[in-house]
Symmetry: C2
Subunit: 331 residues, 2 copies
């Protein structure tokens, strides 16, 4: 591949002149510029991002840690981040954490090895302490959907508890009192937060929290199916169901369809959602929206401002929003 030297030789100028023209720095005679541009075109020259990184001590790369590439939720995150980075002319380096602390560490190692200018972590397995330790190192990073004490300025947050509460409150307002809950895996912080929201809503309405009404899933579709099955077999007569993820709601609906339970006549439904899957299933399911897209976008902006040491006034805390789609009937 042609190098800057080849271009310089062909154009009959010095490398540094070519460099300046590429980067639009300083002034140059228009015929010099023309010669250089022609030489670049002729050689199909592309400046090496690698050499440039080494020379400028900035790789223009940004890391993004997600749990998996599969799953619409993470795809959405990657898409938003890529779009924002494109606007800033930065390269995206993605890595999967694979649901383990070691996987996440490995991803961060990769970001460091590649000398990313900064990175965004949707970390679910590193401890607060480990993240605080990481913050002592010079490379900036932002935490997407996580709040770590002492690292507030790097956090993009969402109130999961309030979101769950809003969803369940809505059910209660429609007269429901026997409300089931399919939670996420309790090994995960956000699952707890959401479950707490469910419980708080019930307690505030003087409704007992019956343990058998809460079934633990893993956010995946099949776990929703089995959770629904478990609730069904328990014999408890629920009139409404709250799911902590859209995939689990999808699975639950599959089960209830198989059992010929009329939805939403016999069972009202409400779910968390991020990627409008609730809109895509039958029946369409009312939801509380977890705005991962905007949060991801904001994460990039925040990271850029950290890299450039720019002051900023970015909104870092996001609020849930109820999206009603007639899957809740009055009880």
């Amino acid at each position: 591949m042609a190098s800057i030297k080849d271009v310089a030789t062909l154009a009959g100028v010095h490398r540094s002149t070519v460099s300046r023209i590429i980067n639009g720095e300083g002034a140059f005679r228009s015929d010099t510029k023309r010669k250089v541009e022609q030489a670049m075109a002729e050689l199909n020259y592309r400046p090496s991002a690698i050499a440039r990184s080494l020379a400028t001590a900035s790789s223009n790369m940004t890391g993004l840690l997600v749990t998996y590439y599969t799953g619409g939720f993470f795809g959405q995150m990657m898409d938003q981040v890529q779009t924002e980075l494109d606007r800033h002319n930065k390269f995206l380096i993605t890595a999967q954490g694979h649901h383990s602390a070691e996987g996440e560490r490995e991803a961060i190692r990769r970001f460091h090895t590649l000398r990313c200018d900064g990175y965004i972590l949707n970390s679910r397995h590193l401890s607060d302490d480990e993240l605080r330790a990481l913050a002592l190192e010079p490379t900036p990073f932002v935490l997407l959907d996580r709040l770590v004490e002492g690292l507030e300025a790097r956090c993009i947050t969402f109130d999961h508890t309030l979101a769950a509460k809003m969803a369940v409150n809505y059910l209660i307002e429609q007269g429901h009192r026997d409300i089931g809950c399919i939670s996420g895996p309790l090994s995960r912080a956000s699952s707890h937060l959401r479950l707490n929201g469910y419980k708080e809503a019930l307690l505030q309405a003087d409704i007992d929290v019956h343990p058998a009404l809460c079934v633990e899933g893993d956010y995946g579709r099949m776990s929703g199916y089995f959770a629904a099955q478990q609730l069904h077999r328990s014999g408890l007569e629920l009139t409404a169901l709250f799911s902590c993820s859209e995939e689990m709601m999808q699975g639950a609906i599959q089960f209830f369809h198989e059992q010929n339970v009329a939805l939403p006549e016999k069972l009202s439904l409400i779910s968390f959602d991020s990627i409008d899957l609730c809109d895509a299933i039958y029946p369409q399911v009312s939801s509380v929206h977890f705005p991962i897209s905007q949060m991801a976008q904001t994460a990039v902006e925040l990271l850029m401002s950290q890299i450039q040491h720019t002051d900023n006034n970015i909104m870092r805390h996001f609020m849930p929003e109820l999206r009603l789609r007639n899957s809740v009937t009055e009880a």
Copy 2:
């Protein structure tokens, strides 16, 4: 961040010695090795992939072009490619083509700018000619799910026509003759191939191909919904439906549920699938499997062998597989 020089100084040796130890080349006194390793640990040293790239003229990066990050199909591709690249200790650079030739070109430009050692293209918009021209440049690439004349050695292929034919043949074997088809966008080559398979199956069974039975979608869920609606309103009495994507089948099912059409009693269903969505919906839908995962994995292997100029015996053509799930009743 600590550099190799810092390590060398701290360990009291020369940079080149550190380099050799990192790369395990040559022999060294065990106490030298120990000193160096200790210095590396103390400084939390990570060799710069960038500097290394410049020195070795190999970036260890591999590009992957997909259409979008969202969508389970592409997520699956990225996941498989990443997994394979991890095994080879290569970095992954992803890019989205966004359904335009210019988007795909831009992605390839990025791969070149980053001096990727090679890249994998799931290209849908670049012409055969453009790809052949690209093949003249030195950077190796592999075409995933595409066959370009003259570039066979770089192609990982799948017989879409045969796949569609197998699906429709199965319906015919079960006694169906009035079979609808929701195709992909006819602007795309694979859509045509699949539609041809549908037509060939019918013709071989002496069934007329009624134009109104074929509705064009865009592979997305909602287009399946509207296609189903269109078929429904056409008044044609179909007993079976073949969808060219799982998402469209999902949309169609949503429509038929709304119309209280008993599935599969009143309408047998069969669909293309890649990521087992057919297994995830209600009712579960029989399918022809398009093994994108294995194909993606093979793409990496093929690319690696091209980069390393290794002879190889990799299977590059993949066959469809019928996956029956009882969504087809006898007619």
